[in-house]
Each structure stands twice: as C-alpha cells, then as structure tokens.
Symmetry: D2
Subunit: 285 residues, 4 copies
C-alpha cells in the first residue's frame, strides 16, 4: 500500500509559493511523487496538489499542521493535508435502483476504492441480499412526506457512531432536507444525477431528455448543497442515443454512465484529487 | 454522381406499410439501396426513409406524387420525396467568427456537401476575402437595434431571386425576428449553438458553462423556431475540458466542435436523412 | 415480454427483395416493428434485419421455414429466423479476473440480458462465491499444458447436456484448441480481448500498449476462430490514458471498457442484431 | 502575447528536485504559472514541465543555461528551456490531399498556432491556390523512384536558409529516406498517419481497417523515425463507423480526425508541452 501524504492548497497567486512548499517538503526529506500546480489567471488564484512519499519523511505527520501553518500564513493559504493510508468511512444511501450500490461494493471489495463502508441506508429493503453478500449492515428507514424529518433524525443517529467522512447518494430517490445537509461540513455528500447538469435539473431527467430530443444523454456526479442539483460538479459524461433506443434502452445506457461517473468521482474524492473553490472543482487527475 | 430518389414517410403505425411502399417501388422497377424503418411504439408512429436507384426506374419522377398519393392516402401518410441529383440552394449568414463559414465553403468545394451556395449575408465585412476566394457573392448588411426590421427586409429581398432552400446561421450573432422566421416554411433555417442545449440557452454559453463548472462543453445544431434555441435538435457533441483550459482554450475547442456538428447536421439535411416529428428529429444516418 | 420474430437475410442484391420479404410478412398479418436494409454496393450484397410482432401473425412459426424457403430460393438468400421469446443458453468461461463474469451475471439477473446461464466453467476456484450467490453451477477444471486436451474433453462433456447456444470467454486466459473450436458451428464463441484489435494481438496487450506509448487503450469483443484474435469483430471501444496513469490505472480503465464492450456484444448477439459476412459483422443496432 | 519561459526536465528521480528548480526560479523573481511534475515509479524517472512569467524575471534568458547548468549537473538532468515569445519556423510537406494543409494554414493565420510557416513543399502543384491565398511560397518538387535522392537534396536545400525548426508531413504521401531524416535532430519531423497505430502500419490503412472490419477508425500523429510509422506517438483519436458508412464516408470521417489530431500535436509541440523519453512522449496538457 502507498504510504504518502497529499497537500492541497489554494490562495491568491504570488511569487515563491512553489519554492516555499517544495522547500518545506525537501527539508523534511520527503520525496515528491506528483506535483500539479495551476494558476487561474482570471481569478489570480494559485491551486496545487502535491503528493510525497513518507518513507524517509522526518516530520511526524501529527505535527505537520504546527510546522506548516507558518508557511501557510505567510501566503494566506487555504490548505489541507491527507494521508493515503487513511481509508475514509463512507455511508451509502440507496433506494430501489441498485446498480450504483452493487458497482461501488464490488469496486471497494476488489481494492479499486480505498475506503471503508460501515453501513448502507435505504428507504426500501430490496438491497438486503447485496448487503448480506458483502457483509455490510443495512438499515431500512422508510421515508414518507409525513415522517421525513423523523426519518432523517434516525439516519443521522445511525451515522454518528461511525465517524462518517462522506455520504454517497447512489441513486437515493429522496431529496435531503437542508437541516440534514447542514449537519455535515460542506462537500461531505456526493450525489449522482442521471442527466448532464445543468440541463434537466430535478425529477425524471430521462423523460425530460427524451421530450427535448437530445442526441446525447448524460450523468453528473456533484457535491450536494442546499440548492437541488446545483452543487459543485465533480465529473460528468455522456453517451450517444438515437431514435432506435427505447425508453428501456435509455435507462440501460444511463445505468452504465451513472456507475462509471459516480465511481470516478468517488475515487477522486478518496484520493484527495478534488480541490473546491467557489462553486467549482479542480480535479488533479 | 448518385442518381437516386429518397422517400421519407411518417404516419400512424399499421400493418402493410412496408409491403405497400416496397411494392410500389418494385412495380416501377426500382432497386432499393437503403431502407430504414422504425416504429415508435410509445406514440404508435411509423417512421421510414427509403432510397432507391433511378437507373431502371420506369416512373417519371415528375409524376411520382400523382402515382404515390393514393398509397399515401390509404395509410394517412405524411411524406416527401427528394432526388439525390438535386443540389439544394443554401444561403449562409455569418458575423465575425468565420470558422464555420470557412469550413462549410471548403466542404462544399471539395464535394463533401452536395449543395449550391449562391450567396453569403453578413452584418460585417470581415469575411470578404473568403467570399472572394470561393467566388461567392457577399452582401454586407449592418444590423442595429434601430434598423433591424429594415435590414431583415433587405436580407429577404436578397434571398428571394435565388430560390433558397435553406438558410444556415454559421455563428450569425443576431437573433432573427419572428417575422423573418415566418417567411420560410418550418425547418428551413439551421443554427449552430455553442453549448449543449438545453443547457446554457441564450448568449455567452461558454461563460455560463465556465461559471457552472461543467466538465464537458458542447455544441448543438438545430432548426430555428420562433422560441430562441428551442427548435428540433439535429446533432450535438461534447468535448472534455479541465481547469488547465483557459477561456481561450475553451473557445478553440468549441470552434472544432461547432464546425463538425454544424457540417454533420447540414450534410444530413442535404442528404434528406432528417425526419421531423413533433419538436424532434429522427436521423436516418 | 416482447413476442416478436426476427429475420436476418444476406444475398446478392437484386430488385424486389424488400417487396418480397415485406409482402411475405404482411400476407401472414405480421406488423413490422423495425426493418433495416442495407446494400453493400462494393460487394453487390443485400443485408437485412426485420422484426415483426407475432401477436396477429397467422403463420405457425414452426412452419416458417417451409413457407419462406421458396422466397429464399428465388433470390438465393442466406437467412435465419429467431424468436425474441427464446432465451439462448450461454456458458461462461472465466479464469481469475472476475469483473466480466460478475457484470454479466448482474445484467442477466436484472433482465438486461435475455438469456439463460446454465453453467460457469473455470480453471480456478476463485469465482465460487459468485456462482453460489447467483445459484449457477460452477465447474472447476484446472488446465495445464499436459492435461489441456483432457480438460477440453471434460469441458465439452459438461456443455453437451445443456444444449449450449453460445460460449462466452469472459477473460478466460486459456487459448482454446482448434479441436474444441471445431465442435461448435462457426460464431458460437465470443471472446473479450483487452486491446483495440488488430493492434496488440496475443498476450499482455496492456504491456504492449504501454511499451508502444499509445494515447488510447481499447477492448474488442469478437467471435472466436481458429486463428488467435482474428475472428469477426463485434464491438470495440477505447478510453484515453496519460502518463499520469499507473499500470494499475490502465488495468482499472481496461476493466470498465471490457465490461461494457463484452456486454454490448453479448446483448446484440442475444437480440439477433449481428449478421456475419466474410470475416466481418454488420450490427443492426 | 504571453511572455513566459518553459523548462522541460527529465532525470533519475531523487529528493530535492522540485525544491531546487522552484528555488532557482524564485531567486530570479519568476512567477510560476503552471508546474506539472510526474514521477514514473517503474522507471524511477522524474519528468517535469514548468512555465513562469518573465515580467519580473531578473535573469537574462540568454544567460539562463550558464546559470542553470550547475543545478542540472547536480541532478544529472536532461533539460531544455524555451520562450513562449519564440515562433518556431515550420515547413509543411503535402501531396494531393489538402485538408490538413488548409486546416493548419487557417489555424496559424487565426492565431491558434503560434508559429511561422516560411514555405510549403509538395510533389504536386494542386495546392498552389492555397499557397497564394495565404501568401506562403510553394515549391513543387515531383518525386519518382528514380529521382527521389535528388528530390530530397533539393528539398533540403530549400529548407536550409529558413532555419526550419520542424517539418510537418500533412498527408505527404512519400516515405522520407533515412538520409533525409538523419539531417535533422531527432523529433524534428511530425507525421499524421490515417489509422490508429500500431494497427494498420504502412499504406492504405483505411482499406486495411475496412477489410479487418473494425468498428472504430483512427488517426495518429507521431514523430518520424527511420522505422516507418514507429516513432513516438504524440496524439491519437478514433471515430465510430458502421456498415452504413461507404468508403467515401470513411475517408470523410478520417479527414476530420486527421485535422484535429495533427493540429493538437502541432500545438503541443509549439507550446513545448511534449517531453520525449525512450520511444514515448509525455504530454503536459
């Protein structure tokens, strides 16, 4: 397993930023594996991801913040550091369509997604056999208009003891309330929307796409904010359709898109490749 | 050069439609080259394109309608027939961005687009040297808020003597008035919009896309209706972008998309591969 | 479930073919749902797929051949007819990489692939838990250089009682002998090869691709013939790679390609959308 | 216009490389705009591109080598530095197919390709009017089996006075001799091959692709080496084809691919985004 540290930085652009960061890593005997730095000239913004080997690194990572903060302060950096050895704890929310859930469980088990999945929450019992097969506890909490607030409280209770780092809405067909969303720091919930956003916001995007007569259908994975389908986009992709495709064909093509787009987004999140600024993401792929 | 006839048919689905049409062609000794028939089960609609060789065809095509109409009446068909030997007369409207114009002129001259281009109309004189190079008359008609109605009258006057079959808006940056649009039968004007419709309707779609943080930018070619950017979509495509792309890069990638998408749409129109129903198209590619 | 018949025809092109076929269907009161006919002018070849509803069809399909053969004889047709209600019996061969197997089992169970899977054969026991989960018998037959002939005999014995229509090599890492291949009619074995054929024939195609420095990696699904990786191609696709991709990343991207390409090919085979001529396929998609 | 410097470095990986390079730039008051560093773990190789603003840079770029060489020596770097203000001098070789030539001339004139094109060399006179339109001298040198050596001598004479940095073979249908190729430093000649290399090496790749029945056709831009179609690949792309495509359609689709693939490769070369190692390229896009 990789034993590396990843530093993500954004701040107003200025001279000496690269030199300062690389010098800091080098002084503690770190060997840089990848560094990607980008200047957004229009916003005068410096954006960077750097990953280094911890093998010979002389700094105790628990004390990284204390040592790095002075450098950060000098340049006014927003920053965070992560360890590749840490496996984030992810809760999956799902309803009846199970293709994304099944895909994520397989990828996690096969080592493609370096995370833990301590629990699955669903408003239906349909995915029980998958939960059993993979040995992940499933909690079924039916959601209706009437009990929504109560159901969400129950969900939050279930999540709490696990120290969940990220919630993945894997075709979870309920809209989360603002109250729920505000319980988590920004950008701790990822959704997969089955259209090319911002086209076809809201419900039944395949029907909307069919009615408008588009020639490509899409899928979009994004962070969830309080405004529906409006959060920062992480990844999207499209596939060509034609009049020969029935509604059933569209749904099938959509499923293959959704699986790939969501798993890519999740993988980038886990590998600390996503830097947020404004309502947008930079992907250091 | 191909010497073929193309028949496009739509009507309520019913038994015997294929048999009747193919029987009609065969009785006049026509050799079918391509036939593509599709039943839209959800709308109970029969949609068909058939193309046959006229080499041994015994029916005078000038009398086709008279002979075919009884068959059409029996099934309640909407239909039209076209000859591959006919080169439609196309007027190109353009403003300052000349990449689509230049691309279309080259494709027409190299034989890729089997059409005539009797004139170019622009609100700027910038494309003069291209018009001269290709020997196509250019008419420069400046358009302002004040003179718009007058300018459009002048445009219509210029088009009239040429028997124009199709107007192509090749990045023409003026919105045509409803009065202008109504002068032509539906679906006689094709536009290229530099986004993936229906996302980013209206002006500055690249800026809208940039602001929303999409990961793919698109281009859409569609027939023009009185509602802006809402007509039947003919073709669209997308290209991946990243934070490494500057605004200049987006525009450049967009140009390559626009050229390809518009020329495909135009090619299908010329080859009578587009069947319209409702606000949608079927492309018999 | 659809209750339709599909007719696939190839023969030298000549007048009256469409009329004769559609007339035949119409006389027995069949309602055509889709018809796609294509003339390969360079080879003077007529190629057709037509699908019709059996709801009101007056001809007993068991007697279809007897009635249609005279039509076929008149034009020298090669033809076959199939029923959408028939679920072909498919045996899956697999080795250690289980992603394609797992994908196919899920698609079959969710209704995407209208087939039966009576058995799985593997040279390793690794996929046992998947066979158990889906309730499909797994037969483990180790293959070595020494026992290959014997192992293949055992495989053929296992297949025989099931009336297998198609063998799918879902990343089966053994090369089938010509003796084995000749036991089945041509084109009854589908393979997935993890490169864009005909580049990188044979073993370790990812390594070959890496060494050559290609910018796209591919996957190809094809019918198996006695010449390695040379059979008729059914489907292929590619994905972009960069220097940022490790060997592990290439393998992961390859897996996603292989799943999609193999499942598309298999779907088209099951739905009788593939017409073979020479060493090539026509896909009536 | 951008006034930047670009440094490309490759060397055995070791600690302190990033720190040393960024420190060097910072000490001369350079503001880094983009930096992309990659470690090829399998080869223990450090690969880097860094671009900085020269606005406040205190080092005279004519003396860069003298100052930087000690840093380079310390780490055993292979390196080169380039100025974005320098417009490389490019000679285009072409035969009868003019689509790539026309595309490149347009892109150069519109500012998309920051280079000079002092001359065009062709073995045919067909492209004369394009040369005239763009005001670029055309030299027509017919090439036959008999005069090939003489013709190449004449070509080299024509190139010499212009200080040509790069030769672009824009569908030039003659194979350059090893003698010719050796006149230039490695990687000073770019070719566009109309297939997905390494499939379909050599002549008539479209026919080879058609015969093999592939479902995608490709185009590849690569540096020319003495082994035909074997040099380092810069860029490739593919497009889907079907049985509905005639040979003419394949050629047309191929043309659109070739234009885009060649112009991308050329753009990356001009912007110093290509780092060569072994027989491969890294593209810092």
């Amino acid at each position: 397993m990789k034993n590396t540290a990843i530093l993500l930085v954004s701040c107003p652009d200025q001279k000496g930023l690269n030199a300062a960061i690389h010098d800091f890593i080098y002084r503690a005997n770190g060997n840089t594996l990848h560094a990607d730095e980008h200047q957004d000239a229009e916003r005068n913004l410096f954006l960077m991801r750097v990953e280094w080997d911890l093998a010979d690194f002389t700094l105790d990572m628990r004390e990284f913040a204390a040592h790095f903060q002075p450098v950060a302060d000098r340049f006014g950096m927003q920053w965070r550091v992560a360890l590749s050895s840490y496996r984030p704890k992810i809760a999956i929310f799902v309803s009846r369509y199970d293709h994304c859930l099944v895909d994520l469980l397989y990828r996690q088990r096969s080592g493609e997604l370096a995370c833990e999945i301590p629990l699955i929450i669903s408003n239906h019992a349909d995915v029980q056999r998958w939960a059993d097969f993979y040995g992940v506890p499933l909690h079924v909490i039916p959601v209706t208009k009437e009990n929504k607030s109560l159901a969400e409280s129950r969900q939050l209770e279930l999540l709490r003891p696990h120290g969940i780092d990220l919630i993945v809405l894997a075709r979870y067909m309920q809209v989360l309330s603002s109250d729920f969303i505000r319980q988590y720091p920004p950008h701790h919930i990822i959704n997969i929307h089955h259209s090319f956003l911002p086209a076809f916001v809201g419900g039944k995007p395949h029907q909307q796409a069919f009615d408008r007569g588009v020639k490509l259908i899409g899928a979009t994975s994004h962070y969830v904010t309080e405004v529906l389908d409006d959060g920062p986009i992480i990844e999207q992709d499209v596939v060509r359709i034609s009049h020969r495709d029935t509604t059933e064909d569209l749904i099938q093509k959509g499923r293959d898109l959704e699986k790939v787009v969501l798993s890519r987004a999740l993988c980038w999140h886990i590998e600390n490749r996503i830097l947020l600024y404004g309502n947008k993401t930079v992907i250091f792929d």
